[in-house]
Symmetry: C5
Amino acid sequence: MTKINKRRFQRITLRPAAAVIKEPVKITVIDYDEMHYQYKEVVSPDECQVFRDKPTVTWINVEGIHRPEILEKIASCFNLHPLILEDIGDVEQRPKMEDLENYIYVVLKMLSYDTESAEIEIEQISLVVGNNFVISFQETVGDVFDPIRERIKNSRGRIRKMGADYLGYVLVDAIVDNYLKILDEFGEKIEFLEEEIITRPDQMVLKEVYHLKREIIFLRKVIFPLKEMVRSLERSDSALIKDSTRIYFRDIYDHVIQVADSMEMFREMLTGMVEAYLSSLSNKLNEVMKVLTIIATIFMPLTFVTGIFGMNFRFIPGLERVWGFPVAIILMLVIGIYMLRYFKKQNWI
Amino acid sequence: MTKINKRRFQRITLRPAAAVIKEPVKITVIDYDEMHYQYKEVVSPDECQVFRDKPTVTWINVEGIHRPEILEKIASCFNLHPLILEDIGDVEQRPKMEDLENYIYVVLKMLSYDTESAEIEIEQISLVVGNNFVISFQETVGDVFDPIRERIKNSRGRIRKMGADYLGYVLVDAIVDNYLKILDEFGEKIEFLEEEIITRPDQMVLKEVYHLKREIIFLRKVIFPLKEMVRSLERSDSALIKDSTRIYFRDIYDHVIQVADSMEMFREMLTGMVEAYLSSLSNKLNEVMKVLTIIATIFMPLTFVTGIFGMNFRFIPGLERVWGFPVAIILMLVIGIYMLRYFKKQNWI
Amino acid sequence: MTKINKRRFQRITLRPAAAVIKEPVKITVIDYDEMHYQYKEVVSPDECQVFRDKPTVTWINVEGIHRPEILEKIASCFNLHPLILEDIGDVEQRPKMEDLENYIYVVLKMLSYDTESAEIEIEQISLVVGNNFVISFQETVGDVFDPIRERIKNSRGRIRKMGADYLGYVLVDAIVDNYLKILDEFGEKIEFLEEEIITRPDQMVLKEVYHLKREIIFLRKVIFPLKEMVRSLERSDSALIKDSTRIYFRDIYDHVIQVADSMEMFREMLTGMVEAYLSSLSNKLNEVMKVLTIIATIFMPLTFVTGIFGMNFRFIPGLERVWGFPVAIILMLVIGIYMLRYFKKQNWI
Amino acid sequence: MTKINKRRFQRITLRPAAAVIKEPVKITVIDYDEMHYQYKEVVSPDECQVFRDKPTVTWINVEGIHRPEILEKIASCFNLHPLILEDIGDVEQRPKMEDLENYIYVVLKMLSYDTESAEIEIEQISLVVGNNFVISFQETVGDVFDPIRERIKNSRGRIRKMGADYLGYVLVDAIVDNYLKILDEFGEKIEFLEEEIITRPDQMVLKEVYHLKREIIFLRKVIFPLKEMVRSLERSDSALIKDSTRIYFRDIYDHVIQVADSMEMFREMLTGMVEAYLSSLSNKLNEVMKVLTIIATIFMPLTFVTGIFGMNFRFIPGLERVWGFPVAIILMLVIGIYMLRYFKKQNWI
Amino acid sequence: MTKINKRRFQRITLRPAAAVIKEPVKITVIDYDEMHYQYKEVVSPDECQVFRDKPTVTWINVEGIHRPEILEKIASCFNLHPLILEDIGDVEQRPKMEDLENYIYVVLKMLSYDTESAEIEIEQISLVVGNNFVISFQETVGDVFDPIRERIKNSRGRIRKMGADYLGYVLVDAIVDNYLKILDEFGEKIEFLEEEIITRPDQMVLKEVYHLKREIIFLRKVIFPLKEMVRSLERSDSALIKDSTRIYFRDIYDHVIQVADSMEMFREMLTGMVEAYLSSLSNKLNEVMKVLTIIATIFMPLTFVTGIFGMNFRFIPGLERVWGFPVAIILMLVIGIYMLRYFKKQNWI
């Protein structure tokens, strides 16, 4: 297997690209309550310990999960179960939610759409939501959380007044909202292709349709378990999620359902487009064959007539007469006109 | 992306047309009980406050949701949750029902069918049903509620004797009844196309079939969640819906099921029509190819025979004889007749 | 829209034919218990009142539902809810069962199969089953209940000893049994078409297949809700249905399931037949094309050879020799035989 | 409708062949406990009565259900409900289980595979399992129970130590085990056809595929309700089925699930085979058309060139020269070679 | 039926290859607790008895299930139910779990992928998990358990500290993890074929697609019941599975779901590939037909013109003139150019 195949295949099975391994791990801490705000980039995970016992809400963001020793330190500091630790490090997780007594573990996929290659890139996000802390683990640097950081810093909206559960909601919400944006891009593309496939049905458009279809098959694998996951977040009886926060998760659930619905709609539209393409191919073949048949049906008998009078028999009636050639031409005209009439009656021309 | 694509795409994701934004917001209030009736067009939402505390039923109809400050005033007056306010302003909601303690929030889609373009237009309606008031929010001016306004004004039927929950039912019922009318238009169109596709199967008919298919894919997205929504209205244990009103919601449920059933039936009929179209194309191709093959099979050997006697060899038997030409003609006739018989045996002619 | 389209469309949406409206309404009363039997044709619905309070079982059969004033009189006499009255008059109801305290309302479809046009005709039957009465509403005169009338009159079987709930069962059973008969007709037709499509696959057979397919799509709309309806009849905890009658409804349920199963089987068989038809078309096209290709491949090179020796060059080797023509003929024979061998090797002939 | 169609149709709707009616009814009784064993062929059903009250297990096997008076006698002796009696006599029953207080009624289908005609024959078996008796009703003489009779006679295995419920299990098990054998035959046939359709894809193989597909559609109608039936036997809270026997029914359930799974797998494999057949037809058509196009594209221009030099103009350059003919031949060779190269580049040859 | 068919068929119905029968049965015992470790190859199953009553965890691995007397000895020693014994010996079991009081019986399939033949080989594994022992039965020698044996021997990880339930988990986990590896191989193959079918769409690639499709149909039969089985292991209220072990089974469940999801995704991708292949065939046919039609449409009229001037009439205008030939050539050029323009306008060239 060549290197290129390897990489493409990894997208299917959701494995991390090998390139990722070399990057350093970046850990940032945001600690806040209604009054205070602190932002810190930490070098060693040990520095996180101080925040554990403070009553303020602490958001520890870990970018890079390829250094087990770092994950282990955090795990032991926040008392995470070994299996959870394993799940954080394994980027092939299905979106799911697990309610352990002292924290809730949530894993889901952050998507980003590369407009150029028209491919969706995927990154696994693990969230550990505790009583007064949220730890988020990302595969690589770069995320969709910047607006949230802004809101915390500038104390915009409710966020500084709410607890760690609300922070968890806000993070999940940011990821799901991004799905809607990607679907918008898909929608535009599908609209465009639909236009194309009717006006200029060629192989290239079909390839793009199949490409989109595949991306959607792929997306479903990510989004279907998400539905269930958000549902159980909303309905969980964990004390970590306050009742006033629960309604927000219902809101996310509505969004996820909407994403799933649109995806199903796109899928059906794409299937319809393949069908339309094939039927337009069939149609064209019919047109081509009609042209061929008309031409052949007119000229074969005519050529046959010329052949008759082209034979070298000494005695062929009319050959020696002045009226011979005009009569032959008229005969051929009659045959030609009769054929054209037949095709007109058959509605072929 | 061109402007045209933008607009078409908005239909898929259910976003409001940009044009809407400029219209002013129109608020009307109808206040009634068995004895009294009052109709008022209000300029500022503050005027609604007086109706809140009166025991009469008040229907506040807001046409236009693009001015957040107006929505906010109403929300604060009637004590609506911030998330509900957000949902009212976001026209991409799935039909759903939420039971908050003091009011029920219902969101659904009002459809209108543009016969000319054969496209369904969509408008989101939000209803807030409280103890003695109903607030309805529409995207634009114009709705299907005029007969209801008439009934209230003229005290026709039960409506003036019933409470706000019955008014809520009547509004939802008007919207759903309109779906049935649109389905009727669809049904007629499908009947017509079915006739066409058998008698005159051309590309245009197929395009219309695909157009209808797409409209139905689109409709399902609106109607399927509606089923669930009406179900939960009927079964909700909210004190806001009286037992005597509950049976009416069951009636709406029956209608929604009927709409969903018909839609599925239409979908299957359209799929069957595409299939029939393709099989009739195949059939035609076969016919065309038979004609071509018959012509070629008859005239190719004949032309070959003329070719033989057209060769310039000095010594070809028969060329110099009087009987040469008639014999050649007879030979060709025999070949032609044999070929025709063969095709008759093959059932091709 | 022409008149013809209008009528056909009505079948889809289950609306009554306009013609029905003119017929008079016929009301008959059968009143019986183990000892007594009375049959009466009543002119005014008021005459029904006397039967309401008698302990005997009374079956009021109303043929024609287009005169609202008659329905209203019956409704007020037997205390029917306004919504039930509305449902009785609206022939587009889905089969359903509603358990109101004093009576059970059942609506379902009576089918009749017109062998000539191969179309299923549909008529809505509403049943109101009370403590000691059954009221049945039909769209038009004519039904499948005559054997039941006979059984009551002649006191055959259990019927005279049982209550109104058993009469309700007997009526529903008669309608469902008729479904089985119609399915038998379908089965025969499908068997016949299956034979045809293999031996004589032409467009006409395919049209009949599509016709049957559509009738079955249509039937499903009627039968699927029926399943649920009979189920709720069997399981209802209404005091109106005695325990000893309940087992009979289970029997109907078995029949409905059997109808639904057979319908699904027919649907799959018809789908398979379309598929088989298309694959046989493809096969034929291949055959036709092979014939064409064989003919062209043999005669085109041969005609080319005759063309070479038909050119008017003065110096062509062999033209002037006695052996010229035989050699040319042998050359052509060799080419022809070689081509035939090639096709034999390709398994084309 | 001819006679042949009649018979084939009966298979679909599961009606008994008319021929069956004439056979006499054969009743055999096997009565046993751990110590005693008695086998008896009875002439009149009245003789069964003596066995009813004995504590030993009694198996009454009735072969032939077309004589109602015999069934009625047995029914009245063992106190069977009239509806059960009706079900026993009606061979179109879906597999089901009914738990009446004093006995359990089970109806299912015994299959036999006719290797020659490759058709499955079906026979309905009704079982009435009471406290100390089992009555089995078969449509015709001949069954799959002989090994069971042997086991009882020779006291092999547990059977003589167990009660009537275990006998019921053993009978159902024998029937279901036979399904597995039939599936094996199907599996072999499918393997064979899969080989065939790749190496020799002709119409005959396709017909066999469709035949198998239809047999499987038909089988599903028998097996799907069986699943549910065995499930309710296992889970029934009837006192007639001892707890120690219950685990055996779970074993049958596993077998039924396995049959259903294999059937679904066969169905998918057959669908895949039809698809493969069609795509191989398309492929062949492409091959044929390429041959035709290559031949026509090479020889049409060449024949045109010979035509040019075959024209009878007096003044055509080169006609009179010695080099005329070789130049023309070389020109034609160049054209031919150019065409062949073009086809090579197009990957057609 | 030939031998080859026999063997291939056995794969479908999951029967053991006949060859297996001759191998001797190999029994190994690993007995351990936190302190002690003992490995032993036993000759007679009787030797297992000593381990039964020791408090240490004992893993008895039986490779070969074709000698009933050995299975029976083990069964009687560990008190296994006769039906369980039967299930162990029957390799056509569906994956399932049965909770008997003193032990849990688990049966599932161990897969191995033969890269060369691209076929999945299957082997049934039965596990009996008791209080302090696990007995595993395999069809043949060779398994995926070697890393586990290593871990026990070298006391790596938790395994030596945990009980028999954890050992059961570890064995099931090893088997399921192997599924993921096989899916990876599938994924690579599918990626490769997807590339191929676009660049070089020939029959061989299609055959491989069908082969993979069939393997996946086959796999589903193994994996779908597994889902349910692992679920019931996790949720069982058996005292044999400690609460601390339960979370590990949830982990396996996640893996099984992931396997099932990927399989569905692969299936859809393969279906899409067949579709793409067919549409690319259609496209190619269109291209071929266009070439043919263009050639025929240009050269047939031209050849006809040469035919006219090749006729042997004495009086054909122009034949005798010097300008005759050039005019004819120009006429033909004009016809040719006109035809080419027509095809350009039709977008065919």
